[in-house]
């Protein structure tokens, strides 16, 4: 993979910036070139927030992403804002717990993940971001999941260290969900069911 240009979008408070920073930090740990650029309004919570992350094997020209190869969409307004921007055959991971309308694009790979519901089941609705990230990484292994979980420890402040475990768990759950629901997995289940394998 030469370059992955990712937009992560949702509302303030969903941990959008944390997802971006985490991906970026993990990329650096794997010796890649990375850029992370936040974009938000004047509010800390609420309002639309998104960030641009680029992970590349080469030096990155512009950190501003206008043609993302992948998007992680955490709420409804973000779907409207970024659906059209994703490149053809690009990936869009959608938090299907909050995004209730179907995407219009048919020329991209759409992965719905009920991130908020899974996070609630884990006992912390705020790790929905990590569930979605796990789902994204299941599809695009831009960095190793082990690196990402190691990076959590590096960038979470010490006062939040008790949250490391639930964040790791959330990433794992997101990955498991996507792998279990991908067409290949369903196909293999089906064929097993028919006794082919």
């Amino acid at each position: 993979m030469a370059e992955e240009r990712i937009i992560i979008a949702g509302f303030g408070g969903q941990g959008i910036m944390f997802m971006g920073k985490l991906l970026c930090y993990a990329g650096m740990m794997e010796d890649r070139h990375v850029t992370y650029m936040p974009s938000y309004g004047a509010e800390v919570r609420g309002g639309t927030a998104y960030c641009n992350v680029i992970i590349s094997s080469e030096e990155i020209p512009s950190p501003v992403v206008s043609d993302p190869t992948a998007a992680i969409i955490m709420n409804m307004p973000s779907l409207a804002k970024f659906e059209a921007a994703v490149v053809k055959k690009g990936l869009m991971v959608v938090n299907s717990s909050l995004v209730t309308r179907a995407a219009k694009r048919k020329d991209i790979e759409l992965i719905p993940v009920p991130a908020t519901s899974i996070a609630d089941r884990l006992g912390n609705t705020r790790v929905a971001n990590m569930v979605a990230l796990g789902g994204f990484l299941a599809k695009r292994a831009v960095v190793d999941i082990a690196t990402v979980t190691a990076a959590i420890q590096e960038i979470l402040p010490a006062s939040r260290s008790h949250l490391i475990e639930v964040n790791r768990q959330a990433i794992a759950e997101g990955k498991i969900y996507v792998e279990a629901h991908s067409s290949a997995a369903i196909w293999s289940k089906l064929t097993r069911g028919f006794g082919f394998a």
């Binding site: 650096m28 992370y36 512009s62 206008s66």
Partner: protein
């Protein structure tokens, strides 16, 4: 010494300043520049004051500088407007200091969290009277670190306020950076309290006010012009990426120049880092090209000055409202080349 890490642009400015020997910082928080103030608080060797506003901040810096401290302040457009009078004062009393302006969309409150390049002419002509600020405008986190040091060096050498321009994009950008140190310059002039010095913002000869003598003022301005030009000559900083067969030269700086790199296989690129005084070499370089195009995040500020420098019309791509869209740039380049703008 270099080492690789991931760093935010604003933090890199703070680290560069500390490395260059910063001892005094006065400022007022403002998006998107606040992180510079926040980061500096971590360094006990720097006296950090949060003032009541930007006017107080720049004046505190002038005072600290005259007392011998390496001083800096950081702000964004609205604060930079308030600092203009203080910048003129610093030129008049020859107080070395660095003013960092992390530009956001203006005028007025504008779009606080969105980057812009709307303060270029203000850097050059914002205060009243004649003065000649040296201005640097880097385009990456590594460069922000390096040019903060260079700006502090140039300030100390020229005994004048030097402007370090940044923008909401590179200021808030985190990326892998390599921090390279430069040799730190010290001031030759003794601070207040040593020897006999008198500072006045009136026109003066030496330390003596000469507020009614035109010849004294002519000498003063000629002196300021020569002094900053001499120091600027030691900082001829630009990037020129020629491409064979291209008849077009793209000029860009700061965040926009990063987008320009996307076109480097098709068009030659000129990126001034010391954007003022303007790089003289551009005259010679531009002669080799049929078309010169400036792209910038404002309504044509640097374009105006490039036209004046080159004595020829140049194409212009405005990127307003904080947006840098590659498709749009591509379209506009095409239009410039077909002569429809």
């Amino acid at each position: 010494m270099t080492h690789k890490l991931i760093l935010q642009g604003n933090d890199a400015v703070a680290l560069g300043a500390v490395k260059a020997g910063l001892r005094f910082f006065a400022g007022y928080p403002i998006t998107p520049a606040s992180e510079i103030l926040h980061k500096l608080v971590e360094f006990p060797e720097v006296k950090v004051l949060q003032m009541e506003d930007e006017i107080a901040s720049i004046n505190a810096c002038v005072g600290a500088s005259l007392a011998g401290a390496k001083a800096m302040t950081a702000t964004s457009g609205p604060g930079f407007s308030l600092m203009q009078e203080g910048i003129g004062l610093a030129h008049m009393v020859e107080a070395p200091l660095v003013v960092v302006n992390v530009q956001r969309v203006g005028p007025s409150t504008g779009m606080p969290t969105f980057g812009s390049q709307g303060d270029l002419l203000q850097c050059r002509y914002g205060s009243h009277g004649d003065y000649f600020s040296i201005v640097f405008y880097p385009n990456s986190v590594s460069e922000l670190y390096r040019y903060t040091m260079e700006a502090m060096n140039a300030a100390e050498e020229s005994l004048s306020p030097v402007i370090l321009l940044s923008d909401g994009i590179i200021g808030h950008l985190s990326e892998t950076a390599e921090l390279e140190d430069v040799t730190i310059k010290e001031r030759s002039l003794k601070p207040l309290g040593h020897g006999n010095r008198h500072f006045t913002s009136l026109t003066h000869t030496g330390s003596y006010p000469k507020a009614t003598a035109p010849s004294a003022h002519q000498e003063l301005i000629a002196g300021l012009a020569k002094k900053t030009a001499d120091v600027a000559r030691r900082y001829v900083r630009y990037e020129y990426l020629p491409v064979k067969g291209s008849h077009t030269l793209l000029i860009a700086f700061g965040a926009v120049s990063r987008a320009a790199y996307h076109f480097k296989d098709h068009f030659s690129i000129f990126r001034p880092v010391r954007i003022f005084p303007m790089i003289e070499d551009l005259k010679e370089i531009a002669r080799r090209y049929k078309t010169v195009i400036v792209m910038e995040m404002n309504a044509g500020q640097y374009t105006l000055l490039v036209e004046a420098l080159l004595h020829r019309p140049v194409g212009f791509i405005p990127l307003l409202g904080g947006a840098i869209n590659l498709e749009y740039i591509k379209e506009r380049i095409k239009k410039c080349l077909s002569g429809t703008t």
